[in-house]
């Protein structure tokens, strides 16, 4: 048990205390103030690791959980997990501070902070876990807590819809990921990710390699909202804005990125990994940025922008994985892509968190997030405007903000990728820079829309519900801090690089780190090179496009509504439900005869099939007892009697025929030397017949069954089939006796039990328990009969009067 374990469990422990605090201090003190302590403590604690980590050390400790299965809660701190941990704790603290001012005390704050703390703990556990099963547990906990947070205002239908959608998609991915991780553990024979990494060289030839890769990637893509799983993210914007800022920009959607980065040393360097990750990332990047432009709701715009930025990071991880394949001089060129991915991940968390908070402020102060109703807020909300400019310009990749640096690195990476020789990248490689550039143009356009459509232009007070003014200072603190980070990172990127980014890079490409090639210098000015011209091109074209927005906006309306991913998802869901309902309605008819037909048909198929397949059918009549003529006559009479029940016109005939059958059976018992059986059978048959006669007086007349021919034919086929199968099985069993009977032992009954009647001594001495329970059966049946006759519940006697 290390301090780190305690830190991961701290949010969970505190979450249990939140309801008490809420009950005690509301409404005097906002619950958030108490919760704020937790992420601050965790953040301070994690900061203490940074120097050690930057020297290349790692920390590692284990708490046994299920030792017999080798499932232990093992924490592992290296550069990668530390970056994530700091982001989670740091932005978590800022988000909680923001939420103190954003959420009014009238809300159900206890729920809010409990879910939030659950999420924070789960996220910390996810990034520091070394054991795949523990990682999976935390992974699903983030899914569940995210579901709870999205549906925080559960009385709104859209919240519930969005929560359900995110739940379905992320849990689907989570389960796929679990299967992939288990396959991976089968290949490497370990549950520890570190040991998997150390064995990475041995597994690419394994048959499970590609399936496990694809399943794990499905998990990562669903969580990180990659195309086509991205549809849940815009609907998750129904959550309160602090949640959108925290979960859907900075932390949870990065979990998939974390997984891909963490497993890059295992899968990277393979062509499949390179192509899947980078092409999916590129598609997502383009899809998100193009779709963001058409949104009219600010949060939806930010959601699509998050999708596109996540695609950017994902594609960089894919392109960078080539460095593990090549090695040597070239690899450091591709490695820069990985570095860019980590760098942009940090940058994205800062500016996107800031932007979400700004949008939350706008929503809070104006009562709407609709771009068409907003405008001219610049003079009313100068600080928010400044923050929005910082965030958006960073998102668009303009200096002097950190987004510029990572965007330049991104361009460098795609240009290098275009010239790649490996993995069959030839002419296709040229698509990378082209897609990246087009997506950047769109990114620029929507970033400008975000700033200028809301803060410039005419003020439209008639469309707003509230008197607009600047937000309270408390609400502004968090976005200001993040905005400061955006600027500071631009001016001093190398501090961040030295302490955090380089160790993280070393964690993702450990083989290269061993060669000491992972010290990357960031420079804001790198001469007049092609990347800079690309950026200038983005700015020029983006400005032109923004000004001509009205002219080309109609292009979006050309795209058919029916091919929207959302529409496909809804249709798919409806169809799945409809199809399963139809299927169920087809075979679950509610008519007992149909179910009996299934059961008997299966008996025929399975038992008959087993006899058929094992060639079990064989008759040996050598052992048979001889047949007397009167026995043959009895058999014929019996068949006739039984058949008479089938064709009986009246109840009486049928009942008497069944009674006759019973007496015939007792005759057979006489023939087969079973006096006790004959006696019992006679008595029971008599009583049963009496019962039948008692009841039949109250039952209706037997009508002729007016059933369709098909109905009767199916019944006949099934019943004859069962009869034949039983006969075959009986004959085969009879002809193949494997062992002697054990009944010879019971002939000692006089010595052992003092009884001369062997059957009776078996019933009460040798196998007495059967008899005891049989008596119980009889008593229960008697009680049942009594209850059925005596008990009259309400509404149970509608037809009683008819008699």
């Amino acid at each position: 048990m290390s301090w780190l374990h305690l830190m991961i469990l701290l949010p969970f422990i505190f979450a249990a205390a939140v309801p008490y605090i809420y009950r005690k201090f509301t409404p005097r003190i906002h619950t958030g103030w108490f919760v704020l302590v937790i992420p601050l403590v965790i953040f301070a604690f994690l900061l203490s690791f940074t120097t050690a980590i930057s020297y290349g050390n790692t920390a590692f400790s284990t708490v046994p959980w299920i030792p017999s299965y080798n499932i232990n809660f093992t924490t592992y701190v290296d550069g990668l997990s530390l970056i994530f941990g700091l982001l989670i704790a740091g932005i978590g603290a800022l988000v909680i501070l923001y939420s103190i001012f954003y959420m009014s005390k009238r809300e159900a704050l206890n729920n809010f902070y409990v879910y939030l703390l659950l999420f924070m703990g789960a996220m910390l556990g996810l990034v520091f876990s070394d054991n795949i099963f523990v990682l999976y547990v935390f992974w699903e906990t983030t899914s569940v807590s995210s579901f709870l947070l999205i549906a925080y205002w559960y009385e709104r239908e859209k919240s519930r819809y969005g929560a359900q959608k995110s739940m379905l998609i992320t849990i689907f991915g989570g389960l796929a990921m679990l299967a992939g991780l288990i396959m991976l553990s089968m290949m490497t024979e370990t549950y520890s990710i570190r040991e998997m990494v150390s064995q990475a060289a041995n597994i690419p030839s394994h048959p499970l390699f590609v399936p496990s890769m694809i399943l794990i990637l499905i998990g990562a893509f669903t969580k990180s909202a990659q195309f086509p799983f991205s549809i849940w993210l815009p609907d998750a914007m129904e959550a309160p804005t602090p949640i959108s800022a925290y979960l859907h920009s900075a932390t949870m959607v990065k979990a998939g990125i974390y997984l891909v980065a963490r497993l890059t040393p295992v899968f990277g360097g393979q062509a499949e990994w390179f192509w899947i990750v980078s092409s999916m990332g590129m598609i997502t990047l383009l899809y998100g940025s193009v779709n963001a432009v058409r949104q009219t709701d600010l949060k939806a715009l930010l959601a699509y922008s998050t999708i596109s930025q996540l695609g950017l990071i994902m594609s960089l991880l894919g392109l960078g994985s080539a460095s593990l394949y090549t090695g040597g001089e070239e690899s450091s060129v591709y490695m820069a892509a990985i570095f860019a991915a980590i760098f942009h991940l940090v940058n994205h968390s800062t500016f996107k968190g800031c932007l979400f908070m700004v949008v939350g402020i706008i929503d809070h102060e104006t009562g709407t997030r609709d771009i068409r109703r907003l405008g001219g807020l610049m003079h009313l909300m100068p600080i928010s405007f400044t923050l929005a400019v910082i965030g958006s310009f960073s998102m668009a990749g303009l200096p002097p903000f950190n987004g510029f640096l990572s965007k330049e690195m991104f361009f460098t990476a795609v240009i290098n990728a275009a010239e790649m020789k490996e993995f069959g990248v030839n002419a296709i490689g040229n698509l990378f820079p082209i897609i990246a550039w087009i997506a950047s143009v769109f990114t620029f356009v929507y970033s400008m829309i975000l700033v200028f459509k809301t803060f410039r232009g005419k003020n439209k007070p008639e469309k707003l519900a509230k008197e607009v003014h600047e937000a309270p200072l408390g609400m502004l603190i968090s976005p200001i801090v993040l905005g400061l980070f955006v600027v500071i990172i631009f001016f001093f990127p190398n501090i961040l690089s030295k302490y955090l980014l380089s160790p993280a890079l070393a964690a993702i490409v450990p083989t290269l780190a061993a060669a000491g090639e992972t010290n990357v210098k960031i420079s804001a000015w790198h001469g007049w090179n092609i990347e800079l011209f690309m950026t200038i091109g983005v700015i020029v074209l983006g400005t032109i496009m923004y000004h001509l927005l009205k002219k080309w906006y109609r292009i979006y309306l050309l795209y058919p509504e029916n091919l929207m991913l959302n529409h496909l998802y809804n249709i798919g869901l409806e169809n799945m439900e409809a199809v399963s309902r139809r299927v169920t309605d087809r075979y679950m008819t509610g008519f007992i005869r149909d179910y009996l037909v299934y059961i008997f048909a299966f008996i025929i198929i399975i038992v008959g099939g087993a006899v058929w397949l094992s060639d079990g059918f064989s008759i040996h009549t050598s052992d048979d007892a001889p047949v007397n003529w009167f026995e043959a006559v009895l058999m014929i009479v019996m068949i006739v009697t039984a058949a008479a029940v089938l064709f009986a016109k009246t109840r009486l005939t049928a009942i008497v025929a069944v009674g006759g059958l019973g007496f015939l059976v007792s005759f057979f018992f006489v023939l087969f030397r079973a006096p006790d059986l004959a006696l019992t059978q006679l008595v029971v048959e008599t009583v049963t017949t009496v019962l039948f006669l008692l009841c039949f007086y109250h039952l209706p007349q037997l009508r002729k069954e007016f059933a369709r021919i098909r109905f009767k034919a199916v019944n006949a086929i099934v019943s004859i089939g069962v009869g034949v199968v039983v006969t075959i099985v009986a004959l085969s069993a009879n002809g193949n006796r494997l062992f002697q009977s054990i009944s010879g032992y019971y002939e000692n009954s006089y010595e052992l039990a003092g009884a001369k009647n062997i059957v009776n001594s078996i019933l009460v001495d040798f196998r007495g328990i059967d008899t005891m329970l049989e008596i119980l059966v009889l008593s229960i049946a008697g009680l049942g009969v009594y209850t059925l006759i005596k008990l009259r519940l309400a509404g149970g006697n509608r037809n009683e009067k008819a008699e």
Binding site: D623, L677, T680, L702, V718, A730, Y746, I780
Partner: protein, 112 residues
């Protein structure tokens, strides 16, 4: 004898199951009864037939008929009787309450 009995049992099974698959309650119960007889005869047949005297030690026979299937059957007959009785009364009550003895009309409402 065993072969003929096996065929007889098969016929009894077929008739019983045909009755169980019909729609009338009374026929279904009669079907279970016939099925019960079929099962009983099958058990005793599988024990081997007429391989000696009745299993009573007082009678000086060299061999006795197999006593174990007989003991099993005695149990089975009684249990069969109990279930048949319960089923009969149940159907009687069902008819009283639901006003029909047609299993197809005894279906509940939709979405139960």
């Amino acid at each position: 004898m065993e072969t003929l009995m096996s065929i007889l049992v098969g016929i009894l099974f077929a008739i019983g199951i045909y009755l169980i698959l019909t729609k009338t309650l009374l026929r279904i119960i009669l079907g279970t009864s016939i099925l019960g007889h079929g099962v009983n005869l099958l058990i005793i047949t599988m024990g081997g037939l007429k391989k000696g005297g009745p299993p009573l030690l007082g009678i000086k026979d060299l061999t006795y008929a197999d006593s174990l299937p007989q003991a099993l059957l005695l149990t089975a007959i009684v249990i069969n009787f109990a279930t048949t009785a319960l089923l009969l009364v149940l159907s009687y009550r069902a008819y009283k309450v639901l006003g029909t003895d047609d299993t197809e009309q005894m279906r509940g409402t939709e979405n139960e």
